[in-house]
């Protein structure tokens, strides 16, 4: 019988680990660290739009060790499209026959959106498109993967939503990002309510040195202190390994 609060303090078990937006930034940093904690027989699926960048991450991962017992697959998919989501679910489902003891899905893919005044958002297609990638996609993907790996004894399930302080704090000019992050956090809280055997974590990584942060600097002309992605990634991974958080909670790097 699976006990969602039991944990091996050192590894993530024989795991199917899926990371979206894995080609750079925080997603890449997670991949580089998670790989060390996967037991033999594990599968790491890296999803992003850029096949070339994903391959670079895969190459980096394979430089760490020659053990063939951990498989690393890259899925070049545009998660803003139904096809991209379905392709990802389909590839993941190929691992369904394995005797895995953990499925770990990290919903990291996301976009900044236009940083602009509230009143500038007069075009529903623009807003729809943003919500589709940043909200609908994460829901459809999570639901799809959950369906492929239903509850069974011995299977631990963890879902992470990469959130933001902007899920909780309203910030002028950030209406798209705030709205989507707030919507996502609630979405994953409902998931936690619906599926008691799935541990759900809304994790706000803090400001990191990424291309997204670079864009923020360009657009707003302001700079904040940033940390390396690997520092926040390490904190998130520890939270998952320790597995002590209440399902559905929203945790910030600075609180952990």
């Amino acid at each position: 019988m699976s006990d969602i609060n039991s944990h091996d303090p050192r590894t993530l078990g024989k795991s199917l680990c899926i990371i979206t937006g894995a080609s750079r930034g925080f997603g890449r940093a997670l991949a580089l660290q998670v790989v060390h904690l996967l037991e033999p027989g594990s599968v790491l699926l890296l999803v992003a739009r850029s096949g070339a960048q994903l391959q670079e991450v895969k190459d980096e991962l394979q430089n760490f060790r020659d053990e063939p017992e951990r498989q690393i697959h890259c899925i070049t998919a545009d998660l803003s499209t139904k096809d991209g989501v379905e392709e990802t679910v389909s590839v993941a489902s190929q691992e369904a026959e394995k005797e895995l003891d953990h499925v770990l899905l990290i919903n990291n893919a996301g976009s900044l959106g236009k940083i602009s005044s509230f009143v500038s958002f007069t075009d529903p297609k623009e807003v729809d498109s943003y919500m589709s990638f940043n909200v609908s996609s994460a829901l459809a993907l999570t639901a799809g993967i959950l369906q492929m790996f239903p509850r069974r004894p011995g299977l631990r399930w963890t879902v992470v939503n990469v959130s933001s302080v902007y899920a909780l704090e309203a910030s002028p000019l950030w209406v798209l990002y705030c709205t989507a992050k707030a919507a996502r956090t609630m979405m994953f809280k409902v998931l936690a309510e619906d599926e008691p055997n799935v541990k759900v974590l809304n994790y706000s990584p803090g400001p990191m040195e990424t291309e997204m942060q670079e864009k923020v600097r360009e657009i707003t002309g302001t700079s904040v202190d940033v940390m390396a992605c690997k520092d926040s990634a390490a904190t998130l991974i520890k939270l998952i390994i320790d597995n002590e958080f209440p399902s559905g909670t929203h945790l910030d790097f600075f609180e952990s």
Binding site: V119, D128, S132, A143, C178, R184, V190
Partner: protein, 268 residues
């Protein structure tokens, strides 16, 4: 000039109400008509022409109607660009320079399918469609209306978002509704931060005895939640739209709520 504590009316106002044909939207139209001054215009928006026309006729015959509050109806789907354009066009036509208040009530919304759990929402198009109506349309309508009626001396601007406890608390088997409400509420909080001269009321009306509530009772997948709503109904614990709307009117008249804050009917 009365202090806000003594206000008994909202001035000569242009009031735009979405989802006005029934339920809370309809109650809002009726209540607002009674607290705006003669020369005010209500712009009522919904998809159902029949119900809108009936409401228009009722308002025409009412005391407020006789005193000079007029009603324009806009048969439109705010989920379509054309619908947004029609609402703004009608509102601009209805506006007169001696109006001192513009009030937009974002009430139109849908429940989403509450008969299924989160893991069943594998169809991106279904979720897109839901978010489009419940998030995008409210953002774009509000943006367009605020652009059509920009800040100027002598014009108060109030934006109301009909929110829900579901915006701040997850409800089992209600993923779409909670997600939409949480997103919307944050959206209007951002507006409040950005535009200090716009009064933004995130009003949570409580469990109302409406068609939406009937759907809740009939379809909710979670047995405990379903039972608690059924029980509220049987024990007469649902609020009428009139009861809740009256509290919202009081908030608007007193005008002392914190812009952007979540205000619940049961706090009053």
């Amino acid at each position: 000039m009365m202090s806000s504590a003594e206000r008994t009316h909202l001035g000569r106002a242009l009031c735009i109400i979405t989802g006005a044909s029934r339920g809370f939207g309809r109650a809002t139209a009726l209540d607002l008509s009674r607290i705006v001054q003669p020369g005010s215009v209500l712009v009522l928006v919904a998809r159902s022409e029949g119900d809108l026309r009936a409401l228009q006729a009722e308002l025409f015959e009412s005391e407020a109607g006789k005193a000079g509050v007029t009603v324009r109806v806009v048969v439109a789907d705010v989920g379509e660009v054309r619908g947004l354009e029609d609402v703004v066009k009608a509102s601009k036509e209805a506006f007169s320079p001696d109006m001192e208040h513009m009030i937009l009530v974002n009430n139109a919304a849908s429940l989403g399918d509450v008969s299924r759990l989160t893991k069943s929402f594998t169809d991106m198009a279904e979720v897109d469609s839901y978010l489009s109506l419940n998030i995008s349309s409210a953002l774009c309508l509000t943006a367009r209306v605020l652009q059509a009626f920009p800040q100027r001396a002598g014009l108060r601007r109030t934006v109301v978002n009909i929110t829900s406890l579901c915006a701040i608390q997850p409800f089992r088997s209600w993923v779409l509704y909670c997600t939409g409400k949480a997103g919307r509420e944050m959206m209007f909080r951002v507006l409040a931060e950005e535009e200090p001269d716009v009064r933004v009321l995130n009003y949570s009306p409580g469990p109302l005895d409406t068609a939406m509530q009937r759907e809740v009772r009939a379809k909710t997948a979670d047995p405990e939640l379903k039972e608690s709503f059924a029980s509220m109904f049987t024990h007469g614990q649902l609020l009428t739209c009139e009861e809740s709307c009256a509290k919202m009117m009081k908030l608007l008249l007193e005008d002392s709520y914190t812009s952007g804050a979540h205000v619940d009917v049961f706090e009053l």
